[in-house]
Symmetry: C2
Subunit: 352 residues, 2 copies
DNA sequence: CGACACATTGTTATCGCTAACATAGCATTG
DNA sequence: CAATGCTATGTTAGCGATAACAATGTGTCG
């Protein structure tokens, strides 16, 4: 009688399952871990006992003895933004599908101290790997100072000796945008970029330049913004006063939204007076006034690739300690996600 | 010599710290856990040893013996949307500040099976509490079937005997919106709501009704949408053909964006012909054409409150097993976050 | 000054699991 | 048929922390 009570009182452990199945607890462990040498009959027996008891293996005990936590730390910032939040989604999905837990730490502000904190948090937890979804430059540098002893994948980075990187081919994306403009007949194509030094900013500027050069055009205005609609609006107001270009490539959709409003208020007609191409292709872009032509990438796929890359690493054991550091050549084969141009109503041939 | 090598080979454990500080490992544990009866001198000694060795406590071992995982499971869906993603941010922040790890599981699709899966994932992990950030109705019902043995807080729910809830006072938000319209002189105020049965949808419809009733007005058109800009656009196109109202309260900003585009294309002037109020006040709303009047809430605060509520629970031990179930009266004191109306350029007095 | 309370520290016993080794049974082989 | 190798299972020993209890030392009090 009292035994029954006890059983209800505390969760069943491996020994309970073993007793019920008439085997040793080790055999139960073997069934749970899919070891090869277990007879089908025993396996069935054990599985039945597990089901009957509603047994769940104690993860803490397992982690203690295996020295693995089965969890991946995801370091994020700006996770309420379209790109990062979708990347996060992809990361979580892929990680859980692979049997890992996902521990999240969001950076409210991207400072060395905050990064340090969050990584410390992950180390305390003994994560098996870290995915960094922080589109800020310098993050990688901070991480380098941290002496992290688990595999790490950084989104947006192209990878280096120590860390792996997964990124969207942003230069290509920018070229897609600018080529489209060139094909429409534009010859003076300005660019409203992101803040200086961001990886994304630089790559997009580069694409703009390369595309221009490829078409034999000289650079027009290059302005830098801060990604916000507010900034797009202010810049748009300035620009409207004295248009020296017929097309504008804006580094993200939010700034483009601001520009659109500013132009609207200033009487500059889009696309008649000036064509605009955005970047990110967030769902709302299709409903801007007018609907925005934009370059989009599959951010979820990006997230999935992060995990793929990380697990490829983790699978090969402590690859980080060993030769990887010397394999600088690996940086070039960082997987790149290809962006796509979605043409809508903000682009047309330049005014006559 | 070999000892030195060993020390580098494996992470230091409590015993190493103890040896170095000249105390027992238990004393080290006491220092780490802030036990009262440790002499300041010893404490300093231990802390010095910890720092010198770069010691980090093994969480798995601790979890095993304390039967606590120090982690909170966060179940989310639509985490790339403005509201949920910010709530998530608030949750993560507050949880980490309270010394908890945050394990995330994102629902790609909100089905009983997916919820089941994710919760099972959390149970495997032995989370100390669960926060549910899933704005879909029926989620709670599914959770009720799951026999969860840790405290749980559901965002958007008003709480019941078994679970706690934290929500925005959406009825109030809707009333704020409609009252504003009434004060401007509108008498025929339509509502484009969210999908049927959503908690949010119902509360906002209720607020719209109550506000109308309070002003002695009869209900105008009530249409239901699906939150998307696309749907707002289609509905807007319909509506534009035959305007039977002078003001439209839209249940979220994205649908409002679609409506704005549809009206623009149809030649319906906002706000001259019809006033529009949105809901959520996402940052972009200020840059819609024209800038959208909207009702906003502090979603991060909502997230923080979730943790607050959860930890209040967790603190009192296994409150769930005990009397809580009978305390149905507690449902009324669910903390409500108060929304605010932000007036911009889509609202004005009705046409003469 | 002996007794008792209290602050401080040490010792031992788990927590629930997996790794490593040990053992038994059975088929194969020269 | 003894030797060998495999398969299937059991036994034992930790993983690294905290809990519970034991053992000190120190000060106060009658």
């Amino acid at each position: 009688m009292s035994e029954t009570v006890q059983r209800q009182a505390r969760a069943p452990v491996m020994g309970d399952v073993a007793k019920r199945a008439g085997v040793s607890h080790q055999t139960v462990s073997r069934v749970l871990n899919d070891h090869p040498n277990v007879s089908p009959k025993t396996k069935t027996l054990v599985e039945k006992a597990i089901a009957e008891l509603g047994y769940r293996r104690n993860i803490a005990a397992r982690n203690l003895v295996t020295r693995k936590s089965q969890t991946i730390g995801v370091l994020g910032s700006e996770i309420s933004q379209y790109g990062p939040s979708n990347t996060l989604l992809g990361v979580e999905q892929a990680a859980r599908a692979a049997g890992y837990f996902v521990s999240m730490a969001a950076l409210r502000e991207v400072t060395p101290a905050a990064i340090h904190d969050a990584v410390g948090h992950f180390m305390d937890q003994g994560v098996d790997g870290v995915v960094v979804v922080v589109p800020h430059p310098g993050t990688i540098d901070v991480l380098h100072t941290l002496n992290i002893d688990v595999p790490l994948v950084a989104m947006g980075s192209s990878g280096d000796g120590e860390f792996r990187g997964v990124a969207v081919d942003q230069r290509l994306g920018a070229m897609l945008a600018v080529n489209h403009l060139v094909e429409l007949g534009h010859r003076r194509i300005a660019h409203l970029s992101g803040p200086a030094n961001w990886i994304d900013t630089d790559a997009r500027i580069q694409g703009w330049r390369d595309s221009l050069a490829g078409a034999g055009l000289t650079e027009s205005v290059l302005l830098s913004g801060d990604w916000s609609a507010e900034c797009g609006y202010r810049t748009g107001l300035q620009l409207a006063k004295d248009l020296s270009f017929t097309a504008l490539f804006v580094a993200n959709d939010q700034m483009a939204l601001g520009v659109l409003l500013a132009f609207h208020e200033s009487g500059v007609k889009v696309p008649e007076d000036v064509s605009i191409v955005g970047y990110d292709d967030q769902p709302e872009a299709a409903y801007f006034i007018p609907p925005l032509t934009s370059v989009g990438a599959d951010f979820e796929e990006l997230g999935r690739r992060c995990i793929e890359s990380l697990l490829g690493d983790a699978g090969s054991g402590a690859a980080v300690d060993a030769g990887t550091t010397s394999g600088l050549g690996a940086s070039s084969d960082a997987p790149l996600v290809r962006p796509q141009l979605i043409v809508r109503s903000t682009t047309t041939a330049p005014p006559a």
